[in-house]
Amino acid sequence: MITCNGGKMTTAIDIRGVTKTYNPGSNRPVKALDNVSLAINDNEFFTLLGPSGCGKTTLLRLIAGFEQVSGGEIMLFDDEIENLEPNQRPVNTVFQHYALFPHMTVAANVAFGLERLKKPRSEIEATVERVLTLVKMKHLGDRRPNQLSGGQQQRVALARALAPSPKVLLLDEPLSALDLKLRQAMREELKQLQKETGITFVFVTHDQEEALAMSDRIAVMSDGEVQQIGGPTDIYEHPVNRFVADFIGDTNFLDCEIVSIRDDLVTCRIGRENLFEVENTGGHTVGDQVTLFLRPEKISLSALDTKNGPDTRPGKVANIVYLGNQTAYTVDMGDGIELVAQARPREDGKLPFAFGEQVAVGFSTRALRMLAQ
């Protein structure tokens, strides 16, 4: 499939100012989506990420047509679709719990959409075989859904949604019902499948790891609003606000006051003498209260001795959480500051630092970032 249109990305789905209110007119209306606008490019693996209740599933259901918008427009390529019935929209959905028809065989499930589209029998058979092969389920075409494992049902759901060659494939937390190992394997496969088919995937999840691993772009949502849209590294490294920084990965937040601003550096202070220097992103004045954030993996811990460089500060190990491949140390820096840092285990498997031990905490100025709000 061609993704470029005169050197410019084609927009597959354009959400324009979409609002969704449940129970409008009642005494307790619930605003699930508030004036959401976003554009999803063709041939893109796009993820809607957010905690439960953030509106991501609602947005997906609006695109699929299971719910009707309260305001705004949804464009699919150049067609306005928000007033079409689900069966009139050339998009297909992989449901969270698969929603396979229990009274039909695997093959009949996959053929269902093609039959509704009145495709000729020969074409239906060929397509069913092709997509079942694609998801490695060809040998189980005669089974009923209840005779399949969760992972197998997942594949059938995928095949069923892919069979009619939708313009966009919508996936509603499709991996959430699978166990960890299978989930990780399916991530790879889904990503692969998206590349092979060239179909735009819109993937809904609350699992940030899943989103980072699979997506071309991610929209982080909260309270019915889009907080940030960007590629995985953008979102992780340059979150626009505290919510995004907190939701994606583990983070240390430092609430502090700006004490001086130079050309490219801002100096912030917590308590009496804990000073932090951070890149100047502009728009701040001395005396502003700002929040800095620092990812735990960007902090290095070392034994406190004379070899410590000038950019390290002393701290005391206040808590240890052993996680196997790494250990999370909470370090008390004084002035009420506690930083969480990650340290790899030593080769002999022993923990590098003990509870109460004094350690040197090091991180570079570039690792520290200031949040917009």
Partner: protein, 281 residues
């Protein structure tokens, strides 16, 4: 894009799209359904307050037919018979159903469980007229003629499954962990039943008894066939009144019987709703 183009690309614009699975006219159909279901009852109650002698022409509001019905000796006798039969058969059928349900719901799996279940629910599956015929033939074959006793025995038999079902449903909805907790806290088997199972089961037993009572009170065909001259119950009496010709008195009696049934079923509903809320977490 201009508005016209919008209209072209969105054919359903302006029309409210129903959610998936919703269909136009279902609500109206349901209203019609309930009118059909309740119209006869409303009509009956309405005409029971007719002051006119003929059943169907309205002659103003009056309660004289109720008064007349209460003075009718035949009706009085029939009411007594109905109450005796319903009360006695409710007590026996509920007791029998309760222990049966305890075994089938708490006795684990055993050989003959399915058969036992089938036997207890047998009276539900056999057409009433067949039950009536069979019981009539049986009493005649063994030469048993206890008048009202015959009717009561027949009623106990077909009331058992009606009492059984809510009790069993209640037991199956009841977590065995309550009983296990009691045993764990040093209660003997009897104490467990007395202080845990029985109180929790009570709403089910009450519900079962109510259903049995209503079923017995409303039964017509079996009583008609099995009952002799002296054991006329209210439904049988009403039937003979209808055969003799329509009078507003019938409406009055029917209305009273109707309200007793509705009151009991409403009470049953309240009891079973309450029992749902205090065990379902």
């Amino acid at each position: 894009m201009s508005d016209q183009e919008h209209a072209l690309s969105a054919p359903n614009k302006g029309k409210k799209v129903l959610p998936v699975g919703h269909y136009r006219g279902l609500g109206a159909w349901t209203v019609f359904f309930f009118v059909f279901l309740y119209l006869p009852i409303v009509v009956l109650v309405f005409y029971s307050f007719n002051a006119n002698r003929t059943v169907m022409s309205w002659g103003g509001f009056g309660i004289e037919w109720y008064l007349k019905a209460f003075e009718n000796d035949g009706i009085q006798k029939a009411v007594w018979n109905t109450l005796i039969v319903a009360t006695v058969s409710t007590i026996f059928s509920t007791a029998i159903a309760t222990i049966g349900a305890l075994v089938l719901a708490r006795g684990g799996n055993f050989r003959g469980k399915t058969i036992s279940l089938g036997l207890i629910t047998l009276p539900l599956m056999v057409p009433e007229i067949v039950t009536a015929v069979a019981v009539l033939i049986f009493f005649s074959a063994i030469g048993m003629n206890w008048g009202l006793g015959n009717v009561i025995i027949a009623h106990i038999t077909f009331c058992i499954p009606f009492a059984f079902m809510p009790i069993r449903a209640r037991l199956e909805g009841m977590d065995t962990s309550y009983e296990q907790a009691a045993r764990d806290l040093y209660a003997s088997e009897w104490e467990t039943f007395r202080f845990v199972t029985a109180p929790l089961l009570m709403p089910g037993i009450v519900a079962g008894a109510m259903l049995a009572f209503v079923i017995s009170m409303d039964d017509f065909i079996i009583t008609l066939m099995v009952g002799g001259a002296g054991s006329t119950t209210l439904p049988v009496y009403i039937y003979s009144m209808i055969r003799r010709g329509l009078t507003p008195e019938i409406n009055a009696v029917c209305t009273v019987l109707l309200f007793v049934s509705v009151a009991i079923v409403t009470a049953y509903w309240v009891v079973s709703k309450k029992s749902q809320t205090d065990t379902v977490h």
